[in-house]
């Protein structure tokens, strides 16, 4: 029995080896001819297929950032080199140039001349000076020769690098008409061809430029990361052998990375994954014979923002050409409808403008709503009032007498005017400093800092934009410091977005929402990938009964207080003005922070004009009126449209 079973094992061994030999023989003898053709060195082309970058849309699906083709005229390197050498009219200097020179002039004289001809022909086509094209050629030659030198140093022998076989762009962003003319007559330009390259285009130019951000060239590390993602090969494996330099060549030449704004924050969603294709090239025709491996790219996802293009444009128009920011946010959802900042930049021409922009003292690249750090001024009295109420240091009946100033120690702190006896509501309405000075004297510094932080100050709001500033909430130790902080002065700095968040918290009676820009992310095949469903909420532990008084006071501000007579009352606005001093008397920040409508808030907003001579109500008030009436108009038009649509649809 044993012996039989041993024989069965023997049989199994023989059987499995037979299977292997048969399969090996089949592959090598019968299919050998088929495969050996495939494997010949130049016949198998293996390259990556770039993924299309996803578009960015506003909340109604209007495109804010799209991919468009751009046309480059590219020339084979040997033609560039020859054009360059002929122009110089001198003997080639470096060894590699000499060799190339010999190679090129080895044949007949006519080709010799032809290789340099492209310069004049292209200059004619493009209506540009030959000098310009030659300058580009010189730049290319220098770059390639430098790479070659380094590679040769590393390998310690003469090599030919892939840049020498590739073609390089000589004219970028050629207009469509010129590209079409060239395409028709391509045969008369030997060694010259047209290359299409994806280009980011922002149809509304500088509108929402800070929100959208821009793209940039990857750093060498990022380039390396992208390349290794394509190769999907293992680092360990590369180290263990003498890695033969076969990196994916120019296929990553168009690789760009989101550098700021939504382009930066959602870069991984927008980018997608490149595909890979392996093609067999037939030797006779040098055309693609068949595709033996085709992994399609995964195109980038489309990003839909909560931004409403109409409101955004309105906000930017309201701001006009004054330095400052406007934020409009849904009070319950945290959806940012508009976030305007001035000065702006045009992402379409950023490459050309960049050096000018970074030198501009007004910092146009700064996204003021999330990055400007400003003292909040009197708008901060909302926080002081709620802190004192929550701590039980004052109630609605607490009265202080305002004589126009108070003296603490040796310092005299002034009020805007002498308000006489004031309670909390009147104090907010008329922005009485003395009332809040007295309140601050009763509060302890730690409580002020704690409550201020509970309202989201001193930390990032978590909005989906990179490089958000967190602001700073100091710990006021001395009475003088407490007095300063109570009216939003001193070392306290906030961002306009944080103030918007505060306005919505007051409108919601103590519920904080996280501001956000993302509505949904939609994959290339229209399947929703990610959707922001419920807003992120955080409740502040202040008893609800404290809010109505503050809300009423904010309404009174526009009826009879610091912002009266600006036409805000009729629009249903509630809010608080603020004039933050910056040291010099003619450079104040004018604030208006509030929400609409006052009885059932839907939108919180913040308007701030930096470095102005006027006061909060005077400067920010009219801007707010224009903004709010515009928002209400857009809403009305929207409702009409929806009504028309519903009426139009058959049941």
């Amino acid at each position: 029995m044993y012996s039989n079973r041993l024989k069965i094992i023997f049989g199994l061994v023989i059987a499995s080896f037979t299977v292997l030999v048969v399969r090996l023989g089949y592959l090598q003898i019968f299919e050998g001819a088929k495969y050996s053709g495939i494997s010949q060195k130049r016949l198998l082309r293996d390259y990556s297929v770039p993924a299309r970058r996803g578009n960015i849309y506003d909340c109604r699906g209007r495109p804010l950032a799209v991919e468009e083709p751009a046309f480059d005229i590219v020339v084979d390197y040997k033609n560039i080199l020859y054009g360059y050498l002929r122009d110089k009219g001198e003997m080639p200097q470096s060894l590699s140039q000499l060799k190339a020179h010999r190679d090129l002039s080895a044949g007949c004289d006519s080709c010799h001349v032809d290789t340099g001809l492209w310069v004049t022909k292209l200059a004619n086509l493009l209506d540009s000076a030959p000098r310009q094209l030659l300058g580009q050629a010189e730049e290319t030659v220098n770059r390639v020769e430098k790479i070659k030198e380094q590679v040769q140093l590393r390998h310690k022998k003469t090599v030919r690098i892939q840049e020498e076989f590739a073609s390089h762009a000589i004219a970028k962003d050629v207009p469509l008409q010129k590209a079409a003319v060239f395409e028709m007559d391509q045969d008369s330009y030997p060694g010259v061809s047209l290359r299409t390259r994806p280009k980011r285009y922002y149809p509304y130019n500088d509108t929402a430029s800070h929100i959208l951000g821009y793209l940039g060239r990857p750093t060498p590390e990022e380039m390396h990361k992208a390349k290794s993602a394509i190769q999907r090969s293992d680092e360990e494996y590369k180290k263990s052998q003498n890695y033969k330099d076969l990196s994916p060549s120019s296929e990553l030449a168009d690789y760009r990375i989101g550098r700021a704004g939504v382009e930066g924050y959602y870069d991984s969603d927008l980018t997608g994954d490149p595909g890979r294709r392996v093609e067999v090239i037939s030797l006779q025709t040098l055309k693609v014979d068949k595709t033996i491996f085709d992994m399609p790219p995964r195109h980038g996802d489309g990003v839909f923002l909560t931004i409403d293009l109409d409101v955004q444009r309105l906000a930017e128009e309201c701001l006009g050409e004054t330095k400052g920011s406007i934020v409009v946010m849904g009070t319950h959802t945290g959806e940012i409808l508009a976030m305007a900042s001035y000065p702006r930049f045009n992402p379409n021409t950023l490459g050309a403008d960049y050096n000018k922009l970074i030198k501009d003292p007004d910092t146009p690249l700064l996204n003021r709503p999330t990055q400007a750090l400003l003292p909040p001024g009197s708008t901060f009295k909302i926080v002081t009032a709620l802190t004192a109420l929550a701590e039980g240091k004052i109630d609605l009946n607490t009265h202080f007498y305002c004589s126009g100033s108070i003296t603490v120690g040796e310092f005299k702190f002034r009020c805007t005017s002498a308000h006489g006896p004031v309670d909390l509501k009147r104090a907010i309405e008329h922005s009485c400093n003395v009332y809040f000075f007295e309140t601050a004297k009763r509060l302890d510094g730690r409580a002020i800092k704690e409550w201020t932080e509970k309202f989201g100050f001193g930390s990032e709001t978590g909005v989906d934009l990179p490089y958000e500033a967190s602001g700073d909430v100091p710990l006021p130790r001395y009475p003088g410091e407490r007095i300063n902080v109570s009216i939003g002065q001193g070392a306290l700095v906030v961002t306009p977005l944080q103030m918007t968040q505060l306005a919505s918290a007051v409108a919601n009676s103590g519920i904080m929402v996280r501001p956000h820009l993302l509505k949904k992310i939609v994959a290339d095949d229209d399947a929703t990938v990610r959707k922001v469903e419920a807003p992120e909420l955080r409740e502040i532990d202040i008893p609800k009964e404290h809010f109505p008084a503050v809300q009423e006071a904010l309404r009174q501000v526009v009826i009879s207080g610091t912002a009266r007579g600006k036409g805000l009352e009729e629009l249903g606005v509630a809010g608080k003005t603020g004039t933050a001093q910056t040291g010099s008397s003619d450079k104040n920040h004018a604030w208006f922070v509030g929400y609409i409508p006052f009885d059932a808030p839907r939108y919180a907003f913040c308007v701030v004009v930096e470095h102005t001579t006027g006061h909060g109500g005077e400067v920010a008030g009219p801007i707010t009126r224009k903004l709010v009436s515009g928002i209400l108009d857009i809403e009305k038009a929207d409702k009409l449209l929806t009504a028309k649509r519903t009426a139009g649809t058959p049941k």
Partner: protein, 369 residues
């Protein structure tokens, strides 16, 4: 120190098994050189040196002495397999080995041999091999390390343990009826394996192999294709050592480890690759021959276990390279680059030779012939 050489022992030395293994290692050396680098090949030579040291060292002991310690070894390596899950180094998202400086110690390569020894020890004292409970306990011996290896995750090496179990229990004389009982049990555990132990990429590879059109694992499909191109383009005579286009252009995945057979096939062609397969066959059949000749049932059990181990490993590796099995990380014994794998293969070879030279005269319970 003088070592007494027992002439009787030398006489039992099986030159066919030893010679074919050495031949395979020599071929491995040259193709690691071709596929990776000279430095890599010489590192393999160092591993061979260490391996041969252990090989001769182990020959001094009687294999029965080793089998007696099998349970201790088994426990030690189970602990090592557990430890490697927490402390091991990571390669491509799997934890398989300890970094010992000169060589990466990969316990899963050694547990195969330890399992053979432990099963031999367990089965050698059993009066009645035909009881179902004994079959189940033997199975437990195999399942425990298998589960631990799956968790690394390393599908291929774990699966190699099953043929070892089957072959050893089969040759001891377990009832066929009991084997058949294992089939429904296997069907019950398969879904468990699928859903709890396999990672997504492993499932993708199995699906990709069974239903190629639905595959999402493009990497694996691409590797299979490149391997087939390499083998096919070898034709009958091959492209010559260091001349294989696929290999030299780095189109093969893992050319010096798991896919070294594709390199051999491309550069050596069908005739010589057939010779390599014959060397493997000589090695396996030589081992079976020793098993047939020996009069000690324990030695025979050990040899059957090792035959099952080598055969399944060779078969799974070649079938994967030849595109008839899914891609799992299994290397080719004696040929592929890798310290742990080569040393464990040499240890197994040492056991085989050991059984051959200690041809005992033992009164077995039942006559064999």
């Amino acid at each position: 120190m003088m070592i007494k050489v027992n002439k009787h022992l030398v006489g039992g030395f099986d030159w066919m098994v030893f010679g074919s293994a050495c031949g395979l290692m020599a071929i491995g050396f040259f193709f690691i050189w071709s596929a990776a680098s000279q430095a890599c090949a010489f590192r393999q030579l160092v591993f061979m040196g260490i391996g041969f040291g252990l090989f001769f060292g182990l020959l001094v002991l009687d294999y029965m002495q080793i089998v007696r310690q099998a349970y201790i070894l088994y426990i030690v390596f189970i602990v090592a397999l557990i430890a490697v899950l927490f402390l091991g180094g990571t390669i491509r998202g799997t934890r398989r080995w300890f970094d010992l400086g000169v060589v990466n110690f990969q316990p899963s390569e050694f547990i195969k041999i330890v399992l053979v020894l432990a099963l031999a020890k367990y089965l050698m004292y059993k009066d009645n091999y035909k009881r179902f409970s004994i079959l189940m306990i033997s199975l437990a011996f195999a399942i425990l390390p298998m589960a631990l290896i799956f968790m690394q995750p390393d599908l291929g090496t774990g699966l190699i343990l099953l043929p070892i179990f089957f072959a050893m229990v089969f040759v001891t004389g377990a009832r066929i009826k009991h084997f058949l009982l294992l089939i429904p049990m296997g069907f019950v555990t398969l879904p468990l394996l699928w859903f709890f132990l396999l990672r997504d990429y492993q499932r993708a590879r199995v699906i990709g192999f069974l239903w190629p059109s639905e595959t999402q694992d493009w990497g694996a499909a691409y590797h299979r294709l490149q391997s087939l191109i390499a083998i096919g383009s070898g034709c009958v005579l091959g492209q010559g050592w260091k001349q294989g286009v696929q290999t030299q252009l780095n189109r093969l995945p893992e050319p010096h480890t798991d896919f070294v057979f594709a390199v051999i096939a491309e550069e050596w062609g069908f005739l010589r690759t057939f010779g390599v397969i014959l060397l493997f066959l000589a090695f396996i059949l030589g081992t079976l021959g020793i098993a047939y000749r020996t009069r000690d049932p324990v030695g025979r059990l050990v040899l059957i276990g090792l035959v099952a181990m080598f055969t399944s490993q060779i078969f799974v590796n070649m079938a994967m390279v030849l595109g008839v099995a899914p891609i799992t990380g299994i290397n080719l014994p004696f040929v592929s680059y890798g310290g742990s794998s080569l040393i464990s293969s040499l240890l197994a070879l040492s056991l085989i030779i050991n059984v051959g030279i200690r041809d005992k005269i033992i009164l077995t319970r039942r006559g064999f012939r």
